[in-house]
Symmetry: C2
Subunit: 251 residues, 2 copies
């Protein structure tokens, strides 16, 4: 019986990532969070603050994944066009969400009051629900299988916290890492053979060069702990038999 695998995609929206000004942190953050939900991050696109680019990416990825996340472009300024672009992608109008308006009105009460500009952050594609934001005023947005999140990583994190446990997923992917001071080119055949001998397992090989020496970490992934453990044991034995000591947990 084959197991259903739940997948998600991410569209990172922002000129600041493509210009190199800002180092993205949301890919790694979302990936780790999804693993715990039993959902695999299958693909990511980074697009500019350009409506047609956002529409294309959103429509391609929402169709072939269970969930689609976006980060960035939901603030109040002229370069924040995510909501409008996603409404275009879905073919629905943009409306002001009454609860978002109430949230923002409260949030800005002590900060000079609500304005038309600040109300921009209450705009959602028609039919959307809100995702709570406990860090700042503007909420995230859920519409269909699309989750529209903030771009600032600690605000994104708060929105993911609010979503924890609410999305259907499969079994989380489990992993164990072992390392060895060996050039991966020396044990590549052994790695491939070990992966093939263990159904449902993937082995990643991540070489490094440190303190003048060559090494590699091997990450064994599967959805069942027993399968992971058996593969790690077999890989450790094979590396040992080839004369390479193994470090549990990686180097």
């Amino acid at each position: 019986m084959s197991e259903r695998i739940w997948t998600a995609a991410l569209v990172v929206i922002g000129d600041e990532i493509l210009s190199g000004r800002t180092q993205d942190k949301n890919v790694a953050q979302l990936a780790s969070w999804l693993n715990v939900q039993g959902i695999r991050l299958a693909e990511v696109r980074v697009v500019a603050d350009v409506e047609s680019a956002i529409v294309e990416a959103v429509n391609a990825l929402r169709a072939r994944n269970d969930y689609l996340f976006t980060t960035g472009g939901i603030g109040p300024t002229h370069d924040d066009i995510t909501v409008d672009a996603i409404a275009v992608a879905l073919g629905v109008p943009v409306v002001v969400h009454p609860e978002a308006r109430a949230v923002l009105t409260r949030y800005y009460e002590s900060k000079g009051g609500i304005t038309d500009t600040r109300l921009r952050m209450a705009r959602v594609p028609e039919g959307a629900d809100l995702i709570p934001n406990r860090m700042s005023g503007a909420p995230g947005i859920r519409v269909g299988n699309i989750f529209i999140l903030a771009g600032v990583p600690h605000i994104t994190a708060g929105m993911l916290d609010a979503l924890t446990g609410t999305l259907e997923g499969g079994r989380p992917v489990l992993s164990r890492t072992i390392g060895s001071w060996v050039a991966e080119s020396e044990i590549a055949d052994l790695l491939g053979a070990t992966e093939r001998a263990h159904a449902g397992v993937s082995i990643g090989s991540y070489p490094f060069f440190r303190e003048g020496r060559t090494g590699a970490n091997f990450v064994v992934r599967a959805t069942e702990q027993g399968v992971v453990d058996a593969c790690v044991a077999a890989l450790g034995d094979a590396l040992g038999a080839a004369g390479h000591a193994v470090v549990e947990g990686g180097i």
Copy 2:
């Protein structure tokens, strides 16, 4: 006369990025390097170590950009499938490049000698040239408008160094940053109006929350220094007139 804009795309290949195990650094690194070459990073995709995913991304992006870069998946192990996938995308066979074979044979002379596994790293799509790698043995590969680079960031950096000044581009995008301790929702209209008043300029607004206070940095980008400077001056004046002191260089 409109100016020709040169664009590049990047395909990041690797399960380790999508699993959250590894924080990508190549998007920011490539973006910064491209800026200096007068080329804009227009889009990025992160795909798994799966042939069909690589083929789709490579074919979509090479067609609509001047240059396409890939990072990752060019080592000797079973999960290194970039060369094979790109050959499929191009419809050409994989061949052993004689110069790469010579480079690898020399590199491994003092490291146990060349093996079939290590020779995997001499395989290229037919018609390819090599990109020197002064950090480790395996070279990068250029085929048509595709540049196949290593995934380990310092090795990628060495390959980019080798390419510096060899790619045709346009005028580099210049930028200046100013910051202010102001909520971006207070000055969003002013920002949008300033951008519209300066042709060829884009203004990015990057809010932050630090030391208990709200602020934002504004990045003004254009290809002519005079245009950037005029826009920065106008934005500073407008912010000052609205009662917001400006910090040159950003906060």
